[in-house]
Structures are given as C-alpha cells and as structure tokens.
Amino acid sequence: MVASPARQRDATAPAVELRGIDKRFGTVHANRSVDLVVQRGHIHGLIGENGAGKSTLMSILYGFYTADSGDILVGGKEVRIAESRDAIAAGIEMVHQHFMLVDPMTVLENVILGVEGGALLRRHVPKAREELRRISAEYGLNVDPDAVVGDLPVGAQQRVEILKALYRGAEILILDEPTGVLTPQEATDLFRVLAALRAQGKTVILVTHKLREIMAITDRVSVMRAGQMVGHRDTADTSREELGELMIGRKLATRLDKAPANIGAVALEVRGLSVRDIQGVQRVKDVSFAVRAGEIVGIAGVSGNGQTELMEALAGMRRLEAGSVTVGGATVSAEHPAFADRLRKLGMAHVPEDRLRTGLVPAFAARESAILGYQDDPMYSRGPLLDWPGIDRHTQGLMEKYEVKPPISRLRGALFSGGNQQKLIMAREMERDPTVLLVGQPTRGVDIGGIDFIHRRLIAMRDRGKAILLVSVELDEILRLSDRILVMFDGRLVGELLPENADERQLGLLMAGAA
C-alpha cells in the first residue's frame, strides 16, 4: 500500500505519544490524565487489571471512543482520531481479542475486505495475492491464502488478523489479550511473529494481564491501575513481582497455600461418555473418569477439544449420545436423560465457561441472575409469587460474601465487570452447598485480584469435601488448583498427571495431541 503523507514520520519521534488522555463514562472515570510514550520498533506492554482502563485507552487510540481531553501524537505529529478510519489512516491497526473475521470467506477475501481496490475484484485479486505472499514470507506468517477462515485453528485465524493489519499498511499494531485463546506452542509462534515485526521496525502495543508474556517479549512496559498510569519500566529492569505490585497496588501472593487433599468417596462418575454437537459432530468420545469428594480434577486442553460439550453434557444442557453419568445416587444416560433442573437437585452446581451468554442474563438485574437455575426453589417464593424483597436480601448477602462490586442488587448484569459477574455466579452456585461443582474457565477475563479470590474460594470448597471438576485453558490455573490433571484432546482424555509431576512443556505437547 502507498504511504499517505500522514504516515511520513520523524524517525526519531516516538511512534505513539498520548498526552493527558482523560475519559469519563457518566460517573466512571475510566482514564485520568493518562500519558504514554511508545518508541518506534518497540514491543510495548500495557498491563493492568480488568477495569484499569487499558481497553478504554486503546479504544481511544483506535478511534472507538473519543477522549474528553488530551492529545494523540503519531510519529511526532498531532493527529485527531475520531473514528477507526482515522486511526487506520495514521497507520494504527488493532487485533481484537475476538477476531473480526468472516468465517465462510477465504483468508485472501478476509484480508482484502474493505480495501478491495475497486468494484470488480478480478483485476485486484492477483496483486493482492502476491502482496499477501510477500508479507507472509517477510514475517513468517504462514497461512494458506485460499483456506476458508472458519476451518482454520484459532492460532492461524489470529495470524490472518495480523496479516490483515499489515496488508493495510499498519506501522503500529495493537494486540488485545492475544494469547487468551492460544496453546503454549501457538503463543510461542505468535511471539516469534511479534519479534519479526519488531525487527522490521514495526511498533507493537501488547495489551495483556499476563506478566509472563510481558517479561518474555516486551522492551518496555506501562502499568495502569484504576484509570491511571502508575508506572513505566524497561522490561529488563523490572520483575514480575514489581509489576504485579504496581498492578494491584499491593503484594501478590505468589503461591496458594493448599493443604493436601483429603479425598473421600466418588461423587461424580462418568463412564464411556460420548456427546455430539448441534451439527452432529462427535465432540466427546468415550470419556471415562471419576471425581471424588475433596479433590479438584482439572481438565487441561486447548479450547475446542470437547471440554465445552463435556461440561454441558454433565450439567444437563446437552443430550448424552452414549455412556452414563452418576451423581447424587442417580445415573443419567441417553435412555434416562436429566436436564439441568434435575441435576441441580441431585447436588450438581455449574459455573459455566460462557458467563455472559449462559451463566447470567446480561439484561437482567443482578438479583434476577442471582436465582437463575434455582428460580423454582420455594425459598425464593411467597405463595405463587416471587419474593423479590427476600431475593434482594439474598443477593445482597451473596454480594457481600463474595465481594461483588458494586453491591447493588438491582444493577443490570451487563454493567458489572467480568470479574464481578463471575463472582456473582460463583456465589450463586457455591452457596447452594452442592456435592459436585463443575467450573468452566473460572477466571477468563478476570483481573488478578479477582483470580486470587476465586482460586481461594475453590480451594476452600474442596477442603470442605466437595468434588470439583475444573476446565481451563490457563495452564497456570490448572497447575495451581488441580489435585489431578486430565488432558483432553480431540474429544478424548489423552493423559492423566499429577500436578507435581507435570511440567508445562509436557502438558503442552499432550494438549496439542503430540504425545
């Protein structure tokens, strides 16, 4: 692509400079006079807890929001970024956490989308293909241009997003939590690509909450807390501990004190379970395992290898194709199905991985979501009517005990941060004192303080003799919490390890189906 005059920049000036960015949403002061300098050719980390204001800041840089005050300088020149188009014109591209790709289209079609270069594709496409090939080779971004995007693994889809950005002539690339969906190996590949970008003089802003990634790849790091910039460090001169402290404003407990498991009787037994998805594809294939009272069994795996379907089948949200599940003295099978309401009565609680679409109703007030799944319990009713004052008190109690903020039972679910939504769901499920707890991705998108809180709650529950089945794509989490680790790949359990014997490399290979 031809560089526009706006892209001609002073070689010595920083790639991006933000001065005094201030942004309010109603009463929420999301950014307070934030300054940020990102040098050209750097990989610059931006970390902070959820709600610290990093997404807002990057959204302002990318033109989703307009700052209330403050200046944006790109290549030393002041620019006005009112919408994404302005950001793109200034050479800024963003790779979102949730990819903005058209699944049924090919890689090439996705890449040229919006920059087709004319009404007729015929003339432009061969040139585009050539250009794509050149960019792929230059940065080690190997993707088949004619592959259908929907068929590609997540890591490859992410490469398409990066290709798209580079094809549009990006000089400055913002990556928002890019490794959340990747295997350790894919993450390593991504870091290799980022290093190649840096070597070519591109600038990368990496938004993340994972300290390990910051330490592994960045040149410099900026830390945000509560809407303010609390520190800038050269990565070489700092440590995970210091950054963690800056992020949450206090010392981070690095290790979780975990008493040895006091294991009891089998609480959940799964025998020969197979499950198909809506399209009829078999996603869980002949899986057998048991979870005993007082232990946490972690299922490690790259997302999309059947964990979701397994959990949904166990929770009564999905029909079993074959096999059986025994819980609370009852056995569920294809011939004797049980739905979620019955399983709850049998002592099964479920914290689903997709909290916004499944675990709560975003449009509902917190108190309405606080009884989801237990709406028929007489304790929430008075005669034929729901006892809203009582439900209010119950919700307030949950919110206090699980530190849900703000503790307003009538606030809509969508207006809580991810961590607080999760705490509300955990409170609802755990306070019912179930015998078996299914937990999917308990800390996805949750800030560090929240992660710690949720982990402690899970451990406490295990110590009270509950059986916990944990599915997570975060290896740290699996290793930290589990008493036993099962690895799931392509719908099967491909390994069982004890956390003390498991190292990340070995787990990563099992997860990738390579061991």
Binding site: A340, R342, P352, R357, E368, L372, G373, L385, L386, A414
Partner: protein
C-alpha cells in the same frame, strides 16, 4: 466498559425519547397537512379536541384504545419470550368465532354465565390459533414472523368462509351473524354508569375496557412476579441461559404464544360482544398490527402499553374528527398520519437515541 457508553437515565428512555418521537411524527404529519392547504395547527387542535374535548370523544378514544391494549399486551408478552407475534390480527379474528359461538348458542344462560364463557371462548380460540405458530417455532424451528403472517391469511379466508356459508343470518346479503340476545352482549359504559346514576355520553365503550385494565395488571404480575414469567423472560433474553437454568425453551415458547393469543382474543370481546353485538367480517380491522406499534412504543411494559394504546386511540378518534371538519383531509390521509406516528414512534423509535446520549453526556459534563 463499552456497555456503559450508551446508557441513559430511565426518564430519558421511557418519557423523553417517546415524546420526542411523537413530536417528530407530528412535525412530519404537519408538513403533509400543509401540502393539502390546511393549517396544521388547526388540524392538531381539531384532533386533540376530537379525542379528548368531549365525553363522547373520550369514550370513543378509550373504545379504540381497548382493542389496542389487548393487541399491545399480546405482542408484548410474546416479545418477552423473544417472539415477534405478527399474528394478533388473525388470532383476534379467530377469537371472534369463539365469542360468537358462545353468544349465539349459549344465550339461554344468564349474562353472568355467558360473560365468563365468552371470555373463555375468546381466550381459548385466540390461544389455540396462536399455538400453531408457537408449536411450529418451538418444535420445528419455523420462524414465528413468517408463520404468524401466514396464519393471518388463513384466518381471513377461514372466517370469510364460515361467515358467508355457515354463520350468516339467513336471508341477508352481508356476511354477518344475527344480533346476539341482550343477555349475551357486554353492557356499554354509559349504561353501566347510568345504573349508578351517573350520566355519561353514549359510545361503544363497554365492559371489555374494564377487562382490558384487569389484563394489564394480570400481565404485569405474571411477567415480573411469578416463576413462570421469570422463566419466560430468561428464554426471551437468553435461550442458552434458559437451558443452563433447566428451563425448556420450547415449552415456554408455546406457552407464551398461548397467552399472547388469548390476550389478542380480547379484541373479539370488545368488538363482537361489546360494540357490535354480532360477528361480522373483518372486525379486527388492523388492530393486531397497530398492537405491534403500541407494544414497541410502550416498551413492552403493561403500563407503557396502556399509555401508547390511549395515544393511538386518540389518533383514531381525533383522525375521524379531522376528516369531518376538514374536507381537504381525506380518511386516507388520516391513515397516512397514523402511519407516520407508527413510523416515528415504532420503526424509528431509537433513531434519536445516540443524539440524546450525546446531548445528555455534554449536559452532564457541563455540570
């Protein structure tokens, strides 16, 4: 974070925005009136006077509003379950058959027995007819918008056949039944007031209006204060969350349509048993469709539906007055004016919202 960007205080969403939409609609309608050579301000005065300026005007306004309360509630209930019921028109039409069968063939019973039977007839026939698209949606995945549109056509055809060939009063040309016996007709409001010694203007306004007000309260309690209503709203807001919570979406979809159809049946009560005292062709005359706009404008809340229904009732009644007083304005033009109101308050209901968000944010920043 992005979720907070488009928040408005409740009064802006529920009062200011609808009023602005109404104002826009009146402005657009004013331009149409100017084009006919009439004075738009005079037209507004005529309409408001016609709708609210006399006891008779108010009676007619509320009579029209009654129909729209029923259909507005019908659409709103379905909407809470995530269903867009376009079929209130046909459901009301079929409900007319239920009412007529009771009033024609059970009129040997006293009024206090005919009334509950007729209400049951309206509700059962309306619900039964709505159950068909409900079942198709729940079990076969056929889209409710398509099936309710189609069931409307079937209702027209079936009712025409029944009226022309079966229920027609022998020896007449117009396809309608005989008049119901006096004990099978809903008392008019003027008669009811006269019984307690209060003299009000004689209008078609009848007992069905009181039943409609009861339905408003009933729907409010059902939707927000019962376990069933809760589960209905979960299905409407998030079918996945419903499955998670052990609520079977298919069952709720059918049940929501049953209630929706039963409510639409109220139109038959008001028109067939109330205003007309007989079953006649095409009596729902579009109220099922107006109900969609009423529900949209009323934000699917029973009280909102009441307010919107009265507004639309006033438009009908005031519009009728307008054609009397201003010969240049034809009845078709009045329909066009009503259409503009529906367009701005229904179809374009959120058009001004982003601007309002911006305006209020600037206002908040200045403070």
């Amino acid at each position: 974070m992005s979720g907070t960007a488009l928040r408005l205080p409740w009064w802006a969403d529920y009062i200011l925005l609808p009023l602005l939409n109404l104002l826009l609609a009146l402005l657009a309608a004013g331009l149409v009136v100017v084009a006919t050579g009439e004075n738009p301000l005079d037209a507004v005065v005529t309409m408001v006077n016609g709708a609210f300026g006399s006891g008779e005007g108010i009676g007619y306004t509320l009579y029209y509003a009654t129909d729209m309360i029923y259909t507005g509630l019908a659409v709103a209930v379905a909407f809470h379950c995530g269903l867009f019921n376009i079929g209130a028109e046909g459901q009301a039409y079929i409900a007319g058959l239920g009412v007529a069968l009771v009033c024609l063939y059970l009129d040997f019973l006293p009024f206090w027995l005919v009334l509950p039977l007729a209400i049951a007839g309206a509700a059962l026939f309306g619900a039964g007819y709505a159950a068909i698209p409900g079942w198709l949606q729940a079990k076969r995945g056929s889209h409710i918008v398509i099936t309710t549109i189609m069931t409307n056509f079937i209702a027209y055809a079936a009712m025409e056949y029944i009226l022309v060939n079966v229920l027609i009063k022998p020896g007449q040309m117009s396809p309608e039944t005989r008049y119901f016996a006096p004990n099978a007709v809903l008392p008019k409001m003027d008669a009811m007031f006269a019984a307690i010694g209060v003299d009000i203007a004689a209008t078609p306004l009848n007992l069905a209006f009181v039943v409609a007000l009861l339905c408003i309260a009933l729907v409010w309690v059902l939707i927000w204060h019962t376990r069933w209503g809760y589960s209905l709203r979960v299905v409407g807001a998030s079918p996945r969350a419903a499955v998670y919570a052990g609520i079977a979406p298919a069952g709720r979809v059918i049940q929501a349509m049953l209630l929706s159809g039963a409510l639409a049946g109220g139109v038959a009560l008001n028109e067939v048993m109330g205003a007309q005292g007989k079953l006649l062709i095409n009596f729902p005359s579009g109220y099922g469709f107006t109900g969609i706009a009423v529900a949209l404008m009323g934000r699917n809340h029973p009280l909102g539906v009441l307010i919107a229904a009265i507004l639309f009732g006033a438009l009908y009644q005031g519009g009728a007055e307008l054609t009397f007083d201003m010969p240049a304005i034809s009845p078709y033009l009045v329909v066009a004016l009503q259409g503009l109101v529906i367009l701005f308050t229904g179809g374009l209901a959120t058009m001004l919202r982003p601007a309002l968000v911006r305006a209020l944010r600037i206002g908040a920043g200045a403070r």
